[in-house]
């Protein structure tokens, strides 16, 4: 049975044979491109189905994975990227509770395997935090499943309606387990260290890819249930969303370390995504989360990959070391700036339209004051994004640390950044592709 999933799954196994050969990257790219032709095909197992919604997101995911493979130099990571692609497709196509849990866990496990590629103490700290958080998330998720089953739910279908209070509680517990992965406050504290300390290219996969996939799949899976429980879920999720974005944005303002700023910005974006869960009654909510996810997967992956290059080349970690980058690295500075502006929600970039749709969904659901808070948060976030850009373009470089390590295959890095930039620009102007879904 040929499907995008099976191609990527087989490719990830076969790629093990190609480690330490120059063919690995070519083979991985080839398999990703081939799998794009089958992005609308179902996994082919019981409990999985395709929708236009999942197909569009899977296509975008494959494009981003191509960019990631182009950027990556580590053989193990390339194999893991393919595997993450396969399990993301599983998660996005899952339609029953059983398939949702299994694919969710497979994505969790592969993320942990990914960060366990440890070379120094910092990375170890990040990886351990991530591991513990994942374990807790899994535990809570399973606890919720057990409650749900005891309350009369079944594994072999999607969540339709929770018949008993016990089942309802079970579903909310499950949701909170998932929120660990989505870094919703107060389940966020592991994320900052994990994202900031592990290798930046790994962080790109974790926050850019894995988190977005989980957000989209969770929305798809829980939307009906949340709409049914609106009287309880709406105030709860609205408060969580507001707190998440406010905390993420405020704490980001005080960071000196670029990766920590971006980690907090990732938390803030989780808050924006949660707004779609809040506005679930609105017809724009599903478009909103899809738009936010697509925009976010491009821009967040791109900024972390750019940061990875900067780290390798100049060992840049703090804002001060970023000074005068525009003179040294004209092209990379340009890529980085555009993606930061997209994260900040500057128009003609995907991040802006994503926010427009999500925030409008909130207004449409009748919560204009929540939308106002979200908008002001978004304006606040410009504070730190513009501050990073200020260091890149306005400040003169300190001459003290101008060490430069030459890295090979710089062309591939540029191609990878260009792919992500085109994605950000395309979805910043052409919205119809997403609205058709």
């Amino acid at each position: 049975m040929i499907s995008a999933f099976s191609i990527l799954f087989v490719a990830s196994l076969l790629s093990l044979l190609l480690h330490r050969t120059p063919w690995l990257k070519v083979f991985s790219l080839f398999s990703l491109i081939v799998s794009m032709f089958w992005s609308s095909s179902s996994v082919g197992l019981v409990g999985f189905e395709t929708t236009e919604f999942s197909t569009l997101f899977i296509t975008v995911l494959q494009i981003v994975l191509i960019a990631l493979v182009l950027h990556e130099k580590n053989d193990t990571t390339i194999t893991q990227i393919l595997f993450i692609g396969a399990s993301s497709i599983l998660l996005l196509q899952s339609s029953t509770l059983l398939s949702f849990i299994i694919s969710f866990e497979s994505l969790s496990i592969i993320s942990i395997v990914l960060v366990s590629h440890i070379t120094n103490e910092e990375e170890a700290e990040g990886a351990v935090k991530m591991f513990i958080a994942s374990a807790i998330a899994t535990g809570i998720l399973l606890l919720g499943v057990v409650f749900y089953l005891m309350g009369g739910g079944v594994l072999e279908s999607g969540i339709k309606s929770a018949s008993t209070p016990f089942a309802t509680i079970g579903l909310f517990v499950m949701l909170f387990g998932v929120f660990y992965k989505l870094t919703i406050v107060p389940m966020h504290s592991w994320a900052v260290d994990a994202y900031a300390l592990v290798r930046h290219s790994h962080a790109a996969i974790l926050t850019g890819v894995a988190k977005t996939v989980v957000a989209v799949a969770t929305f798809k899976f829980f939307a009906l249930f949340l709409a049914e429980q609106i009287s309880f879920s709406l105030p709860l999720l609205a408060i969580l969303a507001v707190v998440t974005m406010a905390l993420g944005n405020f704490l980001a303002l005080f960071q000196k370390n670029i990766s920590r700023i971006l980690a907090y910005s990732s938390i803030a974006h989780a808050g924006y995504m949660l707004l779609a869960f809040v506005a679930v009654k609105s017809e724009y909510a599903s478009t909103g989360i899809l738009y936010m996810a697509i925009a976010y997967i491009f821009m967040q992956t791109a900024v972390f990959l750019a940061l990875d290059t900067l780290r390798k080349k100049y060992n840049i970690q703090t804002l001060d070391e970023l000074k005068g980058l525009a003179k040294k690295e004209r092209l990379l500075a340009f890529f980085f700036t555009v993606q930061l502006f997209s994260l900040a929600g500057i128009p003609l970039l995907a991040g802006f339209l994503a926010k427009v749709v999500v925030f409008y969904a909130v207004v449409d659901a009748g919560l204009w004051y929540v939308a106002l808070i979200a908008l002001l948060n978004s304006a606040l976030s410009v504070g730190y994004y513009a501050w990073i850009v200020k260091h890149i373009y306005f400040d003169k470089a300190d001459n003290s640390n101008s060490k430069k390590v030459t890295i090979d295959s710089e062309k591939l890095l540029r191609v990878s950044q260009t792919i992500l930039l085109v994605g950000t620009l395309y979805f910043g102007v052409f919205a119809s592709v997403i609205f058709q879904v």
Binding site: Y284, L348, F359, A386, K390, Y393, F430
Partner: protein
């Protein structure tokens, strides 16, 4: 010709220039000049094609039916006037920055600015309007932040954040409009909205008041004006503030006339406060460019009063004053910037006796200053007089106080002449060299020429402006 070219080509072009040109390249300014000339021709061509009333539809693009998200481009007299003003100012700004350093970056940002500003005046879809509205901030942020004065970074970040926060109110208002009216098309909103919540009016008012700027939302402007390089101050005063006033007329007054009539006292009171507060601040300032900046805010207060009348004559005079203000304040900014560049000082006490060293420059400075205080025969007089008449018509004789604003203007302008142009020659002026680049001087002459021309023959402008509001006059002046 596809009108999208006017919006998206500059954006792409500026990206290409930055990426593929070296840091200094003499062709950059010629490319900018060519593009702005093309833009001017395009706008004048639009003016020819305009129907006598209503909108000229120039196309619908990138349609997303479900969300009402269509890039619909329509122009009427008001927007074409603003387009012409913008392209003329961009041309003159290019001439005025003929000798700037880091030319490729600078001119590509100017070209980048030309794209979204065209979009602002052409788009009738609220979301696309907002997209272009916000996008103008980006080139301005870099222009102030890279080419600005000593505290440029503070000014750039403050400008960016302050106006961005205000824009969020506008965006929320647009969302509420879509929820009520089911359309983002600003030409249809008025009819489509059955009930228009007061909240929308206030959100829009605050959002646009920041850009205009109206007291107490003006605090970003003095910083941005003073720190920006002189030609960019011209753009800020001549285009960005006008964008705010344009949006105030189009989206607050014309789109929600009932609420505007109800709250016209807000515009009136805040406008008068802006007029006098900024006037007194200008009187108090000894920093030359800050004085000009406050004088600019003071004039925008006058425009606010005129808009607040919500009448045919008031809006016409407001638009005339907007154009007049753009043309009058620009040479003042340019000369202030030039004097700083040559003497190294911003303070008036260091600049005495300019007349003896640089008589031609001083003459233009005096002419523009006199126009700013409303000397008959210049644009300032016509603008202030028509606003005075219109506001007295609407609010009664009490509004004679507007004339006091002009008197205040006379105070700070003439006192500035006393200190800068005619005072005894200061040592700093004596040893400075005031020879100006010919192209940059030519730009100043053009400004001076325009001030007198449209001052003596205001009908050239008023014929077009009045057509913009003709639909109001047929309904007896009321909306």
């Amino acid at each position: 010709m596809n009108p999208l070219i006017m919006i998206f080509v500059p954006i792409v072009l500026s990206g290409l220039l930055v990426l593929f040109f070296e840091k200094e390249n003499m062709f950059a300014k010629y490319i900018a000049l060519a593009w702005f000339t093309f833009m001017l021709m395009f706008s004048i061509n639009l003016l020819d094609q305009l129907p006598s009333t209503g909108y000229l539809d120039i196309g619908q693009f990138l349609s997303v039916e479900k969300f009402g998200f269509v890039l619909s481009l329509q122009v009427d007299h008001l927007s074409v006037i603003m387009l012409i003003l913008t392209s003329v100012l961009l041309l003159l700004v290019t001439l005025s920055s003929w000798t700037i350093k880091g030319s490729v970056g600078y001119f590509s940002l100017l070209i980048l600015f030309a794209g979204p500003i065209t979009g602002v005046f052409m788009s009738t879809n609220l979301i696309w309007f907002f997209i272009f509205w916000e996008l103008t901030l980006v080139p301005m942020y870099f222009l102030v932040g890279v080419w600005g004065g000593e505290r440029r970074i503070y000014a750039a970040v403050k400008f960016f954040l302050y106006t961005h926060v205000a824009s969020m109110f506008i965006l929320l208002a647009f969302f509420l409009i879509y929820k009520e009216a089911g359309t983002f098309d600003m030409t249809l909103v008025k009819e489509a909205m059955l009930v228009s919540p007061v909240l929308i009016w206030w959100l829009l008012f605050i959002g646009f008041a920041v850009k205009m700027p109206i007291f107490p939302f003006h605090t970003w402007l003095p910083d941005a004006h003073v720190q920006a390089p002189a030609p960019i101050s011209v753009l800020l005063a001549g285009v960005l503030l006008k964008m705010g006033a344009y949006a105030m007329i189009r989206m607050v007054i014309l789109m929600m006339p009932e609420h505007s009539a109800e709250f016209s006292w807000v515009l009136l009171v805040l406008g008068l406060i802006t007029l006098f507060y900024a006037g007194f601040m200008a009187l108090y300032e000894t920093h030359l460019k800050k004085m000009v900046a406050y004088s600019s805010i003071s004039h925008m207060g006058l425009v606010t009063v005129a808009i607040g009348t919500v009448s045919y004559s008031g809006l016409s005079s407001a638009v005339y004053e907007m154009i007049g203000h753009a043309l009058i304040i620009s040479p003042l900014f340019l000369i202030a910037g030039f004097l700083h560049h040559r003497t190294g000082s911003w303070y008036m006490k260091d600049m005495g006796g300019l007349m003896q060293k640089a008589p031609y420059l001083s003459a233009i400075f005096v002419l523009a200053g006199l126009a700013a205080l409303g000397l008959p025969g210049t644009m300032g007089f016509v603008g202030e007089l028509t606003i005075l008449i219109a506001s007295i018509e609407s609010f009664g004789m009490g509004l004679i106080v507007v004339a006091l604003g002009s008197m205040l203007g006379a105070g700070y302008i003439i006192w500035t002449f006393r200190r800068v142009v005619y005072a005894e020659k200061s040592a700093l002026v004596d040893k400075s060299d005031f020879s100006m680049n010919k192209v940059e001087f030519f730009a100043l002459i053009l400004f001076a020429f325009a001030i007198v021309l449209f001052g003596l023959f205001p009908s050239i402008l008023f014929d077009t402006i009045n057509t913009a509001f003709v639909s109001l006059s047929t309904s007896g002046g009321a909306l």
